[in-house]
């Protein structure tokens, strides 16, 4: 770390952009670099894997069943005589062995890399998007208050909708219509009645009741009350098995951290001079949010999302173990691993290959994320 300090403090050092500076710091952390390299390698593998294993006639067919070739250890040559030409593995060898149906584990791992990655990315994508959105609103518009009438009307509308869904048609429709009439009325009344004095009870309705910030943060509190894995398990077990459900459920149960973080960040940023300046110039809210504030808040979110991806991959593996993972025909590392565990004595590679692969990749995501976090942390940067 002393090196860094010298370069940073040396007046002769060339002026660096933030990114270069970041890279410079990041490079010090060898583990993180290793993580990055393996992460990139994994990414490339996954992309190549999806190309090579999908389509009508894939180069590596992960679904090809050769029952006579089942449970062969890694690096076994196929028994050419018993196989039809189409069934011979592309590499002429079972690089990672075969599973209990004689499927090539190497092809399955290739395919699984992509699926696992997708699960991780999409789940975290959802959680980051929801998190930023909620956090952004809470942080930026948080001081705004919902009025009593707005709350009452939305309650009326929601009850109407629920009643309608439950089959109580008349009351439901009645409530829905009443709600909409009131909305019309209030838009209308704003224009016409603007200058007239309103009756007292009407003013009371227009009084602010609860701030948006409170609502969102309470929603975060509510979500945090659920034991996460248990919640995921419940939802996944009750819903029909599907890869999308798993991604969405993991995503929707992990946005709270991001929300809190973005909110805190926005609360401090909105007091900053550049935001005030932008407001003074008459820049629109959304432009301020996305152009000016977001870039300053996003980096740490991305860091936590790399770790989030790692966690999502592990969660998926855990769900697979309990029988609620991504359903076939999609192979994921998680379900290859949990399928393989039955054969741990008879075919240990079926457990160890995916197990160690998950271990390495998750480790890399973690190390990479940690390295980034260190590099971004201003306190640690200055006082290394």
């Amino acid at each position: 770390m002393t090196n860094t300090q010298q370069t940073l403090e040396s007046p002769l050092a060339p002026k660096q952009t933030r990114l270069e500076e970041l890279w410079e710091l990041f490079r010090q952390n060898r583990l993180a670099i290793l993580g990055l390299i393996i992460f990139l390698f994994f990414l490339i593998t996954a992309i190549i894997g999806v190309i090579l294993t999908s389509g009508q006639d894939p180069v590596f067919d992960p679904a090809m069943i050769r029952l006579q070739e089942k449970l062969l250890p890694p690096l076994t040559r196929p028994n050419i005589e018993t196989l039809q030409p189409a069934e011979i593995p592309t590499l002429g060898i079972y690089l990672l062995g075969t599973d209990d149906l004689g499927r090539d584990v190497f092809s399955r791992m290739l395919q699984g890399a992509w699926v696992s990655l997708t699960v991780g990315f999409v789940a975290v994508g959802i959680s980051v998007l929801v998190g930023i959105f909620m956090g952004g609103i809470a942080g930026y518009f948080g001081q705004g208050h919902l009025r009593y009438d707005q709350i009452i009307i939305s309650c009326v509308l929601i009850t109407g909708g629920i009643l309608l869904a439950l089959g109580t048609t008349y009351t439901g429709v009645g409530l829905l219509v009443a709600g909409h009439i009131y909305i019309f009325f209030s838009i209308f009344s704003k224009k016409i009645l603007a200058r007239r004095t309103l009756p007292k009870w009407f003013n009371l309705l227009h009084r602010g009741a609860i701030s948006i910030d409170t609502i969102i943060m309470r929603a975060v509190d509510i979500m945090l009350c659920f034991p996460t894995f248990f919640l995921i398990l419940t939802v996944v077990a009750l819903l029909p098995a599907s890869m999308y459900n798993i991604m969405i459920v993991i995503g929707l149960t992990s946005w709270m951290g991001t929300t809190r973080f973005v909110r805190a960040e926005f609360l401090s940023l909105r007091e900053q001079d550049f935001v005030t300046a932008a407001k003074a110039l008459g820049v629109g809210h959304f432009r301020i949010i996305f152009r000016h504030m977001m870039p300053n808040a996003i980096a740490p979110v991305l860091v936590s999302s790399t770790i989030g991806i790692a966690m999502a991959i592990l969660t998926e593996a855990g769900l697979s173990f309990l029988g609620f993972g991504v359903p076939p025909p999609h192979a994921t590392w998680g379900n290859i691993l949990s399928d393989g565990k039955r054969f741990i004595f008879d075919a240990p590679w079926l457990t160890f290959i995916p197990g160690i692969a998950i271990l390495i990749v998750v480790l890399c995501f973690n190390l990479f994320g940690e390295g980034l976090r260190d590099a971004l942390n201003p306190k640690l940067r200055e006082k290394g």
């Binding site: 029952l67 149906l101 029909p240 076939p328 054969f343 008879d346």
Partner: protein, 714 residues
Amino acid sequence: MTIKRILILVPTLVILFLLQSYLWVPTYEEQTKGNPNRLHEYITASTGDATSLNPIISSNSTSSQIESLVFDSLLDRDEELRFRGRLATSWEISEEAYFYLNPHAVIHHAMTSDAGKTDAEGIVRILREARKRVTDLDPVLKATLNRIKKIMIIPPEKVVTTTHYKPAKEEKEEKEIEVIIQAPARIKLSLTEVDQDLFINLSKILGNDYFASFDGVQYLKTDPLVDKKRLAAYAKEYLPAIEHNPVIIFHLRPGVRFHDGHIFDAGDVRFTYEAIMDPKNLSPRTADYEPIKEVEVLDSLTVRIVYKRLYSPALGTWGMGILPEHILNQEALKKEAERLGKDPDKFSMRQSEFDRHPMGCGPFVFKEWKSDQFIDLDRFEDYWEGSPHYKRYVMRIIPDLLTQEMEFYAGTLDSYQVQPHQVERLKKDPRFQSFSGTSFGYTYIGYNMRRAPFNDVRVRRALGMAIDVNKIIDYVLYNQGERITGPFPKQTDYYDHKVQPLPYDPKGALDLLKEAGWLRNEEGWLEKDGKRLEFTLITNSGNDIRKAILAIAQDGWKQIGVNVRTDILEWSVFIQERVHKLDFDALILGWVMGIDPDLYQIWYSNQTHPYQLNFVGFENREADDLIIKIRQEYDFEKQVEFCHRLHKIIAREQPYTFLYVGKWTAVLDKRIVIKDFDEDGVMLYKKIKPTKTGDYTFHFNRWLKIPEMPQLLD
């Protein structure tokens, strides 16, 4: 620096303390050496916990395993699957048959003197005469007549009953209705054995339509009046022209005691029946006992059970554990409810503590049940057949198979149900002895016969021929399975071994399909009238073998040009949304069969509606006929014959592609043996041998673990 030292010392001590506990834990060898009692304990495992230990309520396998040890039944099956008396020493099956006098029917049989219309006495006379004239009768009729032991006349009587009905579907309220029955004279025949053809044979004497032309409607009145259709239904219900009432009389074993010392008697048998039928108990077994008309206690050791109709599975249903009446009757339950502070009116057996503290008169006494941990039983010293050799029986609940295996190796489990791929390895292991046998369930691919193209038997047959079942058995089941061709358990006599399985013959399959109009197009897909042969094959998740079959079937069908999509669904969705609602093309599923050959629910043609079990929609009149005959036939030989015929029909129609019946293998510690005595009363150890049907636990009560590996014996 003290803080530093503490910070390092504390975790080190904690870890050391935790690690040293290893020294106290016994290894495999030490468990039996250090603790001789271990030899008298049998520890086994199950993947799922029991739900309830009350035999009339529970419905899962762990529960029934424990119940079979705690409770004893009237009878069970022996090595050859024949009935064997337990709490009942013997039983007699006879029949009482009834028919109403049909005054309008004209009798003109050659051998009767009273031709023309006749009254009850006339009928009795005719029958008596016929019995005497043995020479010129056909043998079947002769046999029937010989079975008649007694003929009685029940004089006409008037009965008034009230019943309920819903006037229309929309109305919720049920209406009360009074039915006035002015029954004509009735003739009661007591038979020495059950005869389902009794009335068919009697009509040879009394005239072909003597029974059929009996019209009950004329003897009925209702208040208020109802339409004709309903009246006819009431006539059928209250005045059936003919009625078979099979009767079973059980003679009970004297001196049998429940675990609390109370003497077992006929009242307990009747109580068990009443408890099952009590709607408050929500027993899942009501269907088995619904045909019972009454259970009558003749004396403390004799029970007479009368059935409403012919129901040949009847005897088998008494393999049910007998409940102790004195613990569970109304007063006892009321007391318990009061003790627990619950509403006595709502309190039923389901709420009773008996559910978790069962007591019967079986070989083991219930001791303790810790949910998801273990169920602990002690032997019953006063068991009527002599108490078991094992002093303790423990059923552990270990959900994960791999950990079960590890516990078996560590010596804290005495048996392990081997998974197919492990059979080879564990059979060779010198420490263990292994047993295998065929199970009572089979796996099949079922086709929704309501939908094209599955309504064509040639297509179903062709699809079956395109699947290499031997390959499934070899590779997926590791040879732990056998082919099956029909719906009966393979180890029973009902299964017809002469029926040949479908050959694996893709070419033949293509020929059959060609016959049915399906031809391969340029791309190789089968087509008929421009439509491809394509469908979805589904199964439930969580079963690896079915998953593999799914893949193999898809592959096999793809090769003959059938485009198959596959889907694996979560169990409840699979059942509720697809199977129950009949929304599927083809599915992979399995049935677990009982020994009794009753196939009514799965194959009868009126069971094809949503939520019923004939979800493939199999309808075959010949089969229907046989199914009814089988469940009415009390004669084993005849039943077997009917079953063989039914088996052939189902095999011909191929509503399912029958795949295989699984083989199970269990391994035991080799030191477990049978302790027995020879003729001279000298004790000797014998090797455990499975029975013909593969049941190795048949002699469980005589098992024991011995300290040294036995060198014996056979």
